[in-house]
Amino acid sequence: MLIRILPPNALRESDVTPEPMYLDRRRFLAGMGIGVAALGLPLTACSDDGKSAVLAPLKLARHTEEAGGEKVTEFETVSTYNNYYEFGTDKSDPARNAQSLKTRPWTIKVDGECEAPGTVDIDSLLAGTLEERIYRHRCVEAWSIVVPWDGFALGPFLKRFKPTSKAKYVAFETLYDPKQMPDTRYGVLDWPYVEGLRIDEAMHPLAFLSVGMYGKVLPNQDGAPLRLTIPWKYGYKSIKAIARIRFVETQPPTTWNKMAANEYGFYSNVNPHVDHPRWSQARERRLGELFKRDTLMFNGYPEVASLYAGMDLKRYY
């Protein structure tokens, strides 16, 4: 297949300022739009207080509610409470430290067992058709959020590279640059952060790649410019700041599994019946609520169950 890499100054139909955005120029200017993005300029800019980044709004083709009508968590919560050890191990660290990550220029190298390997520019992905999906997100630490993610389905994206029959798994890798990621100096985890999915999991319609959330581009602390969003698995499977994707024949190593294999499995499906060795997974705290609620099997996405038919989920946790 052909992957068109646009020259940095190319303009296309989608770059034309939509009329509502034109009519709402002030807000549009504050956020800086898709047109600017295609010019290769950073999508985030500092607001007057110099702290919070202004995030560009995204044009979304459709919205799908996939969280049973549950209340969406506040943006403030989702963007200030992050597990992103490259920028610190405290939940509040990434919001402070991840601003040092440069998300432009940014390319994603896709190779391995496929017929059409290539390199994709993030701006070409942002210029494509984007949709919003409201998903539950359950962390292995027993807290959860409901987030409107903006991006595109993972499966069709992967198919563009024509994976061969040898592509049994997909391996993902986060950027590793100690200059931009201050906390990678500490050997808390083995860098770069790596994750993986079985190919049929990756092709499942729920598997998603996010470039934004809440209708705007992703804040750096939430995984900009591109992150995986796998709603039926624990949060750490949804790898952030993806720089490389590989089709592989054997099960790829994954970061938390390397860290403690008895605690974090390759599959890491949300499962209230299989506890973490040190704590229970039966219940979770939805951020914004004080008391805990029951955790749902596959985080409330029973449609993925067929992927694991016949598997002992206590063994393949």
Binding site: E76, T77, T80, Y81, Y85, T89, K91, S92, E141, W143, Y186, V188, L189, M259, D275, R278, W279, S280, R285, L287, L290, F291, K292
Partner: protein
Amino acid sequence: MKAIDRPLLAARIAAWSLGGIPLLRLAWLVWQGHLGANPVEFLEHYCGDWSLRLLLATLAMTPLRKLSGRSEAIRVRRLLGLWAFFWVCTHFAIYLTFDLEWSAAALAKDLIKRTYITIGFAAWLLLLPLALTSTKGWQRRLKRRWAQLHKLIYPAAALGVLHYIWLVKADLREPLLYLSILLVLLGMRVPWRGILRARSLSRSAP
């Protein structure tokens, strides 16, 4: 009129501040709604951190007296210990309220299955008789056994630190800092000189 014992007063103010200022700060944070995205976790960690800090401060008093030669350190030790117990109780109460909703069955399950909770609970249990017998009356009643009983603070502090180490996912830097301080404080109680002398004596023996 009795003259004011200034050094003792200063030590008491310091001890009250160490235990009480974090409480005032916490009240302020609650009042302002500054507990972050996960208030319950914040409260648990805040109270847990201050439990360990106060326990270590309590354990620091005996070495401090040895080093400074001042008795004020020992005279505020009980106050610090009670503040430590206060913070442990707060930590425990928040867990019981928001994680377990005061369900005895849920507590029993956690105590059996979750080692770090068993350890934390054991630390609280060890501190309980120390807090109850901290009065002068009990000190008199128990006589020599009082000092023996209050040695329970050593296992309690060790269990407290272990409880923290056990629950951390990957970043052990902070719990290991607490562990190092604890080891230094306990190490200062070991009569190293006596041990070394005994060794050299046994070596020189025929």
